[in-house]
Assembly symmetry: C2
Homo-oligomer: 345 residues x 2
DNA sequence: CTGAAAGCGCTAACAC
DNA sequence: GTGTTAGCGCTTTCAG
């Protein structure tokens, strides 16, 4: 039987309340009593029971993380690195991470997803949500229940919603500028899923850059992907069918860029000789593929840290310094992009 | 205010206990009452409070996952895929995953790691542990507290400990056989950290295969790594310094194999022309590196599933079919291994 | 500064 | 079948 507060109290012939206060560092308890309590707790190897304390305090010291289930999943390198950032920060602050995917489990009525379960059963003090959608029902759901949450990605709604994000638009512009500077004009774009806000912003960057360079926007150079490698593969095939003249492509994330490279290779195109490819995210994998991927690098790990930091502030009802954290992005030039063939230096 | 069991009971003018039983599917409650309770619960959008129920039942429906903190971490592709397997299985069984790394947090007395905190505060019903060590204090710690646990990797102690693992020894033998069949005799080995049981078993496979082929075991061909890419890099450099004649190397995991390839390249060796490299694990990354990695493939995702399945059985006090699950491994031949130069077909 | 007492929301004997 | 009665271990008024 683990030792409880009751045990400590009896031992010291004081009340549970005093023990509780002493352990919580309540200034009202005399430093002498506090010392005795703390020492005994140590000796008896006392550990508070989280469920009990949670029940009383209405706190769990757990933050939930909602990862997409399909087509992307926890196994996506981006999320894994992101989880690492959250985990490392949260753990030092005494929080644990509860992972979940929004998939409804088998034997449950539809609509009753693990997401709603975790929230409704008050397992977590707050949530980190990924992939904000244009109209995201999760927002109202959480607001109704007064559960703090932070988005990975600007959900683009009322500005009182907290989020962390990379500067998508500026990042994509750097990518397109880079391609233009290499002599490319016929630059394709593999976009993300239409319902996600990130898709919208990255597309915006693409259009803005084209406009700046006086390149007309052409629908036949755009294809929809789903942020997965096979999705990128299909999108690239699609573009190549519709517009065989493209000499460069920007993919809205690295996994799709890798898919695009594979598609190009399948079609007998050499990357970067015949087709330059630029990705987005800067996942570790990108440095290992062949050719190594030129990409817009996001500080993924730091995004995770920042999200956790922001959320924990919210949970503890401290006003966060700012509700939005926007990270500047950088262009990492590797081997998958090169000067357009037949272009002077 | 979320609706509680009390509310349901009052509404229906029955007792909390009956509501509790009805919701739990207790056969004693009349099907009519059960139906009414369930319907009202649905209408009022009732959700049980997990801390409260956990407090009473002494259960949390959470399983803990302890991932190494350094030098490997959650960001290691192997663990990420493993987590995916656990997560997908556990979620369908109504369990959540609590991630933790054994690092002690800043402001806490040493020894009081997140690991001990999570266990002692009874946040989890059971644990999945990774990287069993030769003498692993965690075992006694958990046994004392009667917390069920499952190892990823055979800890090689009393056989009542549950674990899931790949067949390390046989796997490595396949790798070495493959290299020998390509004409290699001077085959190096990058081992894992000395305190881990997996290291021991893989080394054993290496020696057994050499013995079978009548190749003498030579210390100068062995180096210690730490299962990370930089560790593999250093180990390879080390081997090349001590034994420039090696024509092939087996690395005890894929990340180290990738490090070894980078080291070889740094020394001006072409892989696989001058040096064949075989890894171990079968992480997705291995298919993307250049040259694509020949490796011993473990069913990583399935290992995760199996570990979760076993643990949940233990938590629910069902006797598991067997306490150990050993998966057969396969050799995946890709581009990083080739016939030794100057050897007849 | 400390203690008594009333819960937090749910479960589990034990009655009837 | 259903209700009553104690808790689970901790926090937090409210007194003193």
């Amino acid at each position: 039987m683990p030792v409880t507060m009751q045990d400590l109290a009896q031992w010291l012939k004081i009340s549970k309340s005093t023990v509780s206060r002493a352990l919580a560092g309540d200034p009202r308890v005399s430093s002498e009593t506090r010392a005795r309590v703390q020492q005994l707790a140590r000796e008896l190897n006392y550990h508070p029971h989280s469920a009990a304390s949670g029940l009383a305090r209405r706190r769990t010291n757990v933050i939930g993380l909602v990862i997409p289930f399909a087509p992307r999943s926890l196994s996506d390198p981006f999320f894994l690195e992101f989880v690492g950032g959250i985990g490392d920060y949260a753990i030092t602050k005494g929080f644990s991470i509860l992972l979940s995917s929004p998939r409804a489990s088998q034997d449950e009525p539809s609509g009753n997803t693990t997401f709603t379960r975790i929230v409704s059963s008050r397992r977590v003090d707050g949530l980190i949500l990924t992939e904000p959608r244009i109209t995201d029902e999760r927002v109202d759901f959480l607001k109704e229940r007064d559960i703090p949450f932070v988005f990975l990605g600007n959900p683009g709604r009322n500005s009182d919603i907290c989020w962390v994000d990379g500067d998508n638009k500026a990042g994509v512009e750097m990518a397109v500028d880079h391609l233009v500077s290499l002599g490319h004009r016929n630059i394709a774009c593999i976009a993300g899923p239409p319902d996600q806000t990130a898709t919208f912003r990255r597309l915006e960057g693409y259009r803005a850059a084209l406009r700046r360079h006086g390149i007309p926007y052409d629908e036949s150079r755009i294809a929809q992907g789903d942020f997965t490698e096979p999705g990128g593969y299909r999108a690239m095939m699609d573009i190549l069918d519709r517009n065989p003249g493209v000499t460069a492509v920007f993919a809205s994330n690295d996994m799709m860029a890798i898919g695009a490279i594979n598609a190009a290779r399948q079609r007998g195109l050499r990357v970067p000789h015949d087709l330059s490819v630029v990705g987005f995210d800067g996942i570790a994998l990108g440095a290992y593929v062949t050719p190594a991927l030129t990409t817009v690098t996001q500080p993924i790990y730091r995004l995770g840290q920042a999200a956790a930091e922001l959320l924990i502030k919210l949970v503890e009802r401290q006003a966060p310094a700012e509700r939005h954290v926007l990270f500047p992005l950088t262009l990492t030039v590797r081997e998958s992009s090169a000067r357009r063939q037949g272009t002077a230096g």
